[in-house]
C-alpha cells in the first residue's frame, strides 16, 4: 500500500506528520503536487521510532548503556523532525488553507492533548490536577513551538543570513532565565534547526543520498555513539533538552554558549548522517510515515502508564537486556499508533476539520 493510497483512503493529504503539521504538502517543488516522496515519510517514521524508544528508555537511565544511548538519540531525534518541518515550510504562505491548518493541526490538538495529558497525569499518575495551556506538559511543547516557528516563516524568508541570526537568537536565549511559559527556551533554542530546514533545497538531500555520503554517515553515527558513551557521564542530559538557560544549568555564559554551539553542531551533523541512511525508495513503513503525529502525541500514554504503574521496576530491565526489550517493544508500538485505524479513530483530536469555527473560505 503506498502512502498516497493511505491518505486517499483516510481522506487527508498527509497532514498528520509530525513534521508536516501545518499541512504543507510533502512534495519537492518540481514534483507534481500529488506525489509524496517516500524518503521523507521513511525519515519521519524512523525518527518517530527513535522518539518512542527514547521516551521508553527514560526510566532505565540508571544503567550506563541506556544513559549513553539516551543522550545519543536525544541529540538528533527532535532536530531531525524540526529540520523536516522547516523544509516543508519553505513555501509556507498564509493562504487560507494553510492558516487553517495551523489552527486545526497545531493549536487545537495542542489544547486537546494538553488537557488529556493533564487529566491522565492526575488520574493515572496521582499528580495534582492542573491544566496550564501556557506551559506545555511534556511532549506537547512541539506543537506550540511548531506553531510559533511556522508563523515566523515569512520573516526568515526575507533575511540574508537567517541561519546565523537564528543561531545568535538561540545562543542569546541561553543567557536569559526564561520562564516555562510558551516553552520559550526550546522554541528559541531549537529555532536554528527549523531555519536550517527552511533553507534546505532538494539538491541538499540528493547530496545525502550519494553512496559516499552514506558511508560517511555510518562512520559519523558510529563515532557519535562512541562519543556519547565517552561523555555521557560528564555532561547533563539537559543540554539535549534545550529547556533551561545557562544560569539554571550552573555554567557561565561562555561555557554555556560553547556547549550550545557544540550541541547545535553535533545535532546538525548527526541529523544529516541519520537522513543519509534513510532509504529513499518506498518501504513497508513509508505509508506509516504520514501519520507520525499520531504516534508522537499518543505514545506518551502507554509510556507514562508504564512509569506510573512501576512496570519498569524489574532489575533485569535496567541493563542491556532491558534496552533490547524496550527497543523491540517500541517498534510494534510505533507501528500500531500509525495504523490507519488509529488515524480514523482519532482524527477528531489530531487533525480535526472544524469547519464550523471558520469563516467561509476567503481569499486574503
Amino acid at each position: 500500500m503506498t502512502a498516497q493510497a493511505v491518505t486517499e483512503v483516510t481522506g487527508a493529504a498527509g497532514a498528520a506528520d509530525v513534521a508536516d503539521v501545518a499541512g504543507a504538502k510533502n512534495t519537492a517543488p518540481e514534483r507534481p503536487v500529488k506525489t509524496r516522496d517516500p524518503f521523507f515519510d521513511n525519515a519521519k517514521f524512523l525518527a518517530i521510532l527513535l522518539v518512542v524508544f527514547g521516551h521508553a528508555i527514560e526510566p532505565l537511565r540508571d544503567s550506563r548503556g541506556a544513559h549513553a544511548l539516551y543522550l545519543f538519540v536525544y541529540t538528533f531525534h527532535m532536530p531531525v523532525f524540526i529540520i523536516i518541518t522547516g523544509y516543508f515550510s519553505r513555501s509556507f504562505t498564509f493562504s487560507t488553507g494553510k492558516a487553517r491548518k495551523l489552527i486545526t493541526n497545531l493549536a487545537v490538538p495542542y489544547v486537546i492533548f494538553e488537557t488529556a495529558y493533564s487529566v491522565f497525569r492526575w488520574a493515572a499518575g496521582g499528580k495534582d490536577f492542573e491544566i496550564s495551556l501556557l506551559a506545555p506538559v511534556w511532549l506537547t511543547w512541539f506543537l506550540m513551538a511548531a506553531f510559533f516557528w511556522r508563523l515566523s516563516t515569512p520573516v526568515w524568508q526575507q533575511l540574508r543570513w537567517p541561519v546565523s541570526i537564528a543561531i545568535l537568537i538561540a545562543l542569546l536565549s541561553g543567557m536569559n532565565d526564561l520562564p516555562s511559559t510558551f516553552e520559550m527556551h526550546r522554541t528559541l533554542g531549537l529555532l536554528p534547526f527549523f531555519v536550517v530546514g527552511l533553507k534546505l533545497q532538494p539538491k541538499h538531500f540528493e547530496l545525502l543520498r550519494l553512496p559516499a555520503s552514506r558511508v560517511a554517515a555510518c562512520v559519523v553515527l558510529a563515532a557519535g555513539l562512541a562519543v556519547a558513551f565517552a561523555v555521557h557521564g560528564h555532561m547533563t542530559i539537559e543540554w539535549a533538552y534545550w529547556r533551561h538557560g545557562n544560569d539554571y544549568l550552573g555554567v557561565s555564559e561562555v561555557t554555556g554558549t560553547a556547549m550550545r554551539l557544540g550541541m547545535l553542531a553535533a545535532s546538525l551533523v548527526l541529523s544529516a548522517a541519520f537522513l543519509a541512511l534513510v532509504p529513499s525508495r518506498g518501504t513497508w513503513y513509508s505509508a506509516l510515515g504520514a501519520a507520525t503525529l499520531y504516534a508522537y502525541l499518543l505514545h506518551g500514554f502507554p509510556v507514562k502508564l508504564a512509569e506510573y504503574e512501576h512496570w519498569y521496576r524489574p532489575d533485569w530491565l535496567h541493563g542491556p537486556a532491558g534496552i533490547a526489550a524496550i527497543a523491540a517493544l517500541s517498534v510494534p508500538l510505533t507501528i500500531a499508533l500509525t495504523r490507519p485505524v488509529v488515524r480514523r479513530g482519532l482524527r477528531w483530536a489530531v487533525e480535526p476539520t472544524l469547519s464550523w469555527a471558520f469563516t467561509p473560505l476567503r481569499r486574503p
Binding site: P29, V33, S91, T93, F94, S95, T96, A99, R100, L102, I103, A107, S132, L133, L134, L151, S152, T153, P154, V155, Q157, Q158, L159, R160, W161, L172, N176, L178, P179, T181, M184, W356, A357, F358, T359, R362, R363, P364
Partner: protein, 386 residues
C-alpha cells in the same frame, strides 16, 4: 534589492509603524510592480492616505505624550481622573488602528520586510538606547539590556510584531473577537512571567482583532453628524465617569500589565473588570474616532510620523523625571497641569517634524536592504492550480 535609494528627504507620508504596512500597499523598494499585494477585501486599494485616520493617529500620539507627562502630576486636582480617562483609550486607539491597517496583511516579501525594518529593528535599537540613556542619566547603575523584557514604550513594538504575525489566524476564525476576548480574560487569570510583556500582548489583543475586523464603512458610520454628537457626549460621559471612579480603582486596570492575582482580586472580579475595561475602551475609541476631523488639517501630514513621537518622547519625559523637573509645586496645580499638557503637545509635534524625522530615521524606520535576500532569491509563494 536594487539600489533605488530612498530619497534623501523622507517622503511626507512617513513610515511610522503605526501604519507600517497597509497605508502604502503599492510601494515596493525594488521598483517592480506590486503583484503580490491583493486588492483589499473591503474595496479598492487606496493609494491616498486617509486624512481621518492620520488625524486620529496624530491626536492619539499627542494623548500618549500628555499621558506620560500627566503620570508625574497625578496629585494635582483632576489630573488623576484625566490620566485614567486618557489611558482608558489612547493605546487601544492605536491598537485598533494597527489592526485595521493589518486587514490585508499577507506575507508578501515587502510586508514581511516591513515587519523587520519598522518593528523588530527599532525595538532592538530603542531597547538598547533606553538602557544606555537610563545609565547615562544615573537612573540605572549599568546599562542592562534585556531584549525580552521591554522597557517603557517599547512593549508596543514587540506586541505589534506578534499581533501582526498572528493576523492570518484571526482572519480565518468565525468568531475572532470572541476568541480574542476569551484569551484576554484567561490571560488575566494566569500567572504570566514579566517576559515580553505578555499580559499586555494577550490582554490588549481584542483591540487588535477588532481593528482587523473593521471595514471602511464602519469608519464612514463614525463620520455621520449624529454619531459625532454622540461621540462627544460619550467622551464627556467617560470623563465624568473617570472622575467618579478614579479613586475606587487602580489605574493598573488601564495599564494591562498585571494579572488578577497581582491586582489582588478574584478571577471573577478580574474577569468582570477586564470585560468592563475592554467595553469601555472600545466605546471610547469609537467616540474618539467620531470626533476626529476627517478633513485635511495642518497636522494631517504629521499623522504619518506618529512612531517618531511615540518612541522619542520617552527621552524627554524620562529626563524630566531624572532631573526632578516635575518638582516645582506650581506644576502640580490646575494651571500647571494645563501648561504641562500644552508643552507635551508641543513636544509631540516637534518630534514629528521633518528635521527630527530626518535625523532619527535610521532608528525608527531604517532601510536595511543589505540584510535582506536579493530580489529573485525568494520567488514568493508558488502558485499552484492558479
Amino acid at each position: 534589492m536594487t539600489q533605488s535609494a530612498p530619497p534623501a528627504v523622507p517622503p511626507q507620508a512617513g513610515s511610522a509603524p503605526f501604519e507600517t504596512h497597509a497605508d502604502r500597499p503599492a510601494e515596493r523598494r525594488d521598483g517592480r510592480p506590486d503583484t503580490e499585494t491583493p486588492a483589499r477585501p473591503g474595496g479598492t486599494r487606496h493609494k491616498q492616505r486617509d486624512a481621518h485616520l492620520d488625524n486620529a493617529k496624530f491626536l492619539g500620539v499627542v494623548l500618549v505624550v500628555c499621558g506620560h507627562v500627566l503620570e508625574d502630576l497625578r496629585d494635582a486636582t483632576g489630573a488623576h481622573a484625566l490620566y485614567l480617562f486618557i489611558y482608558m483609550f489612547h493605546m487601544p486607539l492605536f491598537i485598533v488602528l494597527a489592526g485595521y491597517f493589518s486587514r490585508s496583511f499577507t506575507f508578501s516579501a515587502g510586508k514581511a520586510r516591513k515587519l523587520i525594518t519598522s518593528l523588530a529593528v527599532p525595538y532592538v535599537i530603542f531597547e538598547i538606547a533606553f538602557a544606555c540613556y537610563r545609565w547615562a542619566l544615573g537612573v540605572a547603575d549599568k546599562p542592562t539590556i534585556s531584549l525580552l523584557d521591554p522597557y517603557f514604550v517599547t512593549w508596543f513594538l514587540l506586541a505589534l510584531f506578534v499581533w501582526r504575525l498572528s493576523t492570518p489566524v484571526w482572519q480565518q476564525l468565525r468568531w475572532p473577537i470572541g476568541g480574542a476576548v476569551v484569551i484576554s480574560v484567561l490571560s488575566g487569570t494566569a500567572d504570566l512571567p514579566t517576559m515580553m510583556d505578555l499580559y499586555r500582548m494577550l490582554g490588549l489583543l481584542p483591540f487588535f482583532v477588532i481593528g482587523l475586523m473593521l471595514k471602511p464603512e464602519h469608519f464612514e458610520l463614525l463620520k455621520r453628524p449624529r454619531v459625532r454628537v454622540a461621540g462627544a457626549l460619550v467622551l464627556a460621559g467617560g470623563l465624568i465617569m473617570a472622575n467618579l471612579v478614579h479613586r475606587k480603582m487602580t489605574t493598573e486596570w488601564a495599564l494591562w500589565r498585571m494579572g488578577f492575582a497581582d491586582l489582588h482580586v478574584s478571577n471573577l472580579t478580574g474577569a468582570g473588570m477586564r470585560l468592563g475595561m475592554l467595553l469601555a475602551g472600545a466605546t471610547l475609541v469609537a467616540a474618539f474616532l467620531a470626533i476626529v476631523p476627517s478633513r485635511h488639517t495642518w497636522f494631517t501630514r504629521l499623522g504619518g510620523a506618529t512612531m517618531y513621537a511615540y518612541l522619542l518622547h520617552g527621552f524627554g519625559t524620562k529626563l524630566m523625571e531624572a532631573r526632578g523637573w516635575y518638582d516645582p509645586s506650581w506644576l502640580h496645580t490646575v494651571p500647571g497641569v494645563a501648561v504641562a499638557m500644552a508643552a507635551a503637545a508641543g513636544f509631540a509635534v516637534l518630534l514629528m517634524t521633518a528635521p527630527v524625522r530626518r535625523v532619527t530615521r535610521w532608528a525608527v524606520s531604517p532601510v536595511i536592504d543589505w540584510a535582506f535576500t536579493r530580489p529573485g532569491t525568494y520567488a514568493g509563494p508558488p502558485r499552484r492550480n492558479a
